[in-house]
Homo-oligomer: 401 residues x 2
């Protein structure tokens, strides 16, 4: 497997575009279109929030068939909590796209991100979709990636290429963050494309597995949005042999999907609202994955821990408190902590001022890891988070104005 | 029941003191002592954090008998994650206090609050405890309240007086916040005293009930500390008739305890780290109390909601998203939201710009309520929270330095 340039249109058979259609107050790309030349096998994962946006419900419905050919996504407006009017707007987005492309409405996925509760401008959508279709390009992935951004500061693309049964297979994707980021999706959209040949049920299982170790292990602010979705479309062009025959091929493709998801997920954390640094939180020695994950995410979500990262303060007591607050049975006197390769706590007790000073140097880096060893089993989990800063407050105290 | 001046020493038979003994880096009261002239019935509730401080474990052990006569508490150091040395320090605090007072070690409760992981200065404790005992005063409650403060900006005291079976009964208490504040205790200490005559099991049940509707319904930052405790000592001096005979008397005393706990809890929120405003979050129309509570606390803990309160932005979409993220089954299209008496959302949909403007005016107040009506049942719950501000970051990015 090798990393290649580009994102979703690095995959043969996919076209994309990104334009400004008038949804955002401040001019900037706000409508993304991704189209496959052929009908695709499709899988999707959606927010666990009980308050779901209209496009989420529509796409959940359309993807039931396991077939899909296009994704239309807007930024600047979440089309959430918009009532029947919002439902109609989401449906119209799908219908207009389908009509312009000459495909069935059910083959179109709809996604939205942005402010909640404001009506979506149908005028913008009606003007925008025909223009989007007109400028579809084989290298339009980057424009599409830009058009799904809200408070994101940089474009998020990833792609890998590998050989499966002698055939070249590509997996590519784009994503957007960057607030309301928490497991079980966030205000996070991620669209993946691949030319692999795969059945819908297997694609879904593999996407779930990849998302569980990537998008579901990142957090910016512990918030879960109404609009999150991860979609994957597979057009089958690679003509690889079926996965049923070869576990090795399946593992190879899973690794490719994992790599693309993880790269995109880590970019979302890196671009977390107001973030100045990223931390990889590794929990080791847990009784099982679920417990390791619970602890990793509890620490990753602790405002006090995240603020101490911002201040480059090796305040490990807050980390111990966050571990203890996870509700997992453990023996505090067996816990070891270290930042990168600097041990800080041994058997639940601090290693002293010299260790604190060395750890502080690590915390001044833009990126570092925190390893938590529970010495209570063999399971592990890794989560990614960013620091909590003045800028997070600044951005979110005045988001709508 | 009437509110009276003072706090814990408003209760007949209780003495207290607060001094500086050398634990805090910056000189300020850091050792509090509360003593009853007579042995008391005692009840305590402790942090649910799996990583508990040495004084928490010691006090849990001592209170098993249901009898207690003194509380020794220090601020400036949590004596948490301090290993066997910390265990010895906590024990020594109890032993020294007991020896000076001429009572059994098991009659002394020990509490600590402050930075985690630093050894507690035994020298300070050894010098401080004899001095504390010497200056015990009948009006020393305020000094004790001051001596348990960490980043708190004001003293937290409350007291009420009522008649039970013709006898005058007093309930008084003190508390400290103000970061790591989250249900199931926080870095929160609260000490209550009363002269009521009550059995240990009943005192515990009544304290639990009061705490569940007060200290367990407040949040500053979603953090649960290693050191939280709420203690209540009852010396029986009031000579009231037993509660077994009268449900009315029991209800009257419960109301008094509730009032003192709630007043202290609300002061903790008001003094939340960096807080500029307080919000009462009322959830109505839930299927049961547990669900109402889960939603109230999910909203109360949302960084995005709290930051929008700081910015006086009536961004109700974030509130809807937080409600949906609570994991409670609900129908979003039945939800109504209002700030104080200003309706903002009806049946899950916003009421428009004029309503937003009116709500913004409410949000500019220092204190307001948010009412969430789920229209899905008859249960309700109320939580209290504060806004998330630049000052929270400033305080916590540099707490130890």
């Amino acid at each position: 497997m090798k990393t290649i340039k580009g994102g979703i249109t690095a995959v043969p058979g996919f076209l994309a575009s990104g334009i400004y259609c008038g949804i955002k107050k401040i001019k900037g790309p706000d409508l993304a279109l991704i189209v496959s030349s052929d009908p695709c096998t499709a899988a999707g994962l959606f927010t666990t929030n009980r308050v779901t946006a209209a496009p989420v419900r529509l796409t959940q419905n359309h993807i039931k068939s396991g077939r899909m050919q296009a994704i239309i996504a807007n930024s600047g407006n979440a089309n959430a909590c918009t009532g029947p009017r919002g439902e109609r707007a989401a449906r119209e987005m799908a219908e207009l796209t389908a009509r312009q492309l000459g495909i069935a409405t059910e083959m179109v996925a709809v996604a939205s991100t942005g402010v909640i509760g404001k009506p979506l401008s149908l005028r913008a959508i009606r003007n925008g979709i025909p223009s989007s279709v007109k400028i579809l390009r084989r290298d339009g992935g980057r424009n599409a990636a830009r058009a799904i951004m809200t408070t994101d500061k940089f474009i998020k693309e990833a792609a890998v290429r590998l050989k499966i049964g002698g055939r070249t297979v590509t997996v590519g994707g784009i994503a957007k963050g960057s607030g309301m980021i928490h497991p079980n999706m966030a205000t996070m959209l991620a669209f993946l494309a691949t030319d692999v040949r795969v059945k819908p049920a297997l694609l879904r299982a593999m996407l779930t597995s990849a998302v569980n170790r990537s998008f579901n292990m990142i957090t910016v602010d512990g918030e879960t949005s109404t609009n999150d979705m991860v979609l994957c479309l597979a057009n089958g062009r690679a003509g690889n042999p079926g996965f049923r025959e070869s576990k090795i091929n399946r593992a190879k493709f899973q690794a490719a999907m994992d790599a693309v998801c993880l790269k995109l997920a880590r970019m979302v954390v890196e671009d977390g609202e107001g973030a100045t640094k990223q931390t990889e939180i590794r929990v080791r020695g847990a009784a099982n994955f679920r417990q390791a994950k619970t602890i990793a995410l509890r620490v990753a979500n602790s405002n006090l821990v995240k603020t101490s990262f911002f201040g480059a303060d090796a305040n490990w007591g807050r980390i111990m408190a966050a571990i203890g607050a996870a509700g997992v049975k453990l023996n505090p006197y067996r816990i070891d902590l270290s930042f990168d390769h600097v041990p800080l706590v041994k058997n639940g007790v601090g290693l002293g001022k010299a260790a604190d000073r060395r750890a502080t140097r690590v915390l001044k880096q833009q990126s570092f890891s925190l390893t938590i060893d529970l010495h209570g089993g063999t399971a592990s989990a890794t989560a990614w988070t960013c620091d909590l800063t003045y800028d997070y407050i600044r951005i979110n105290a005045a988001y709508r104005s």
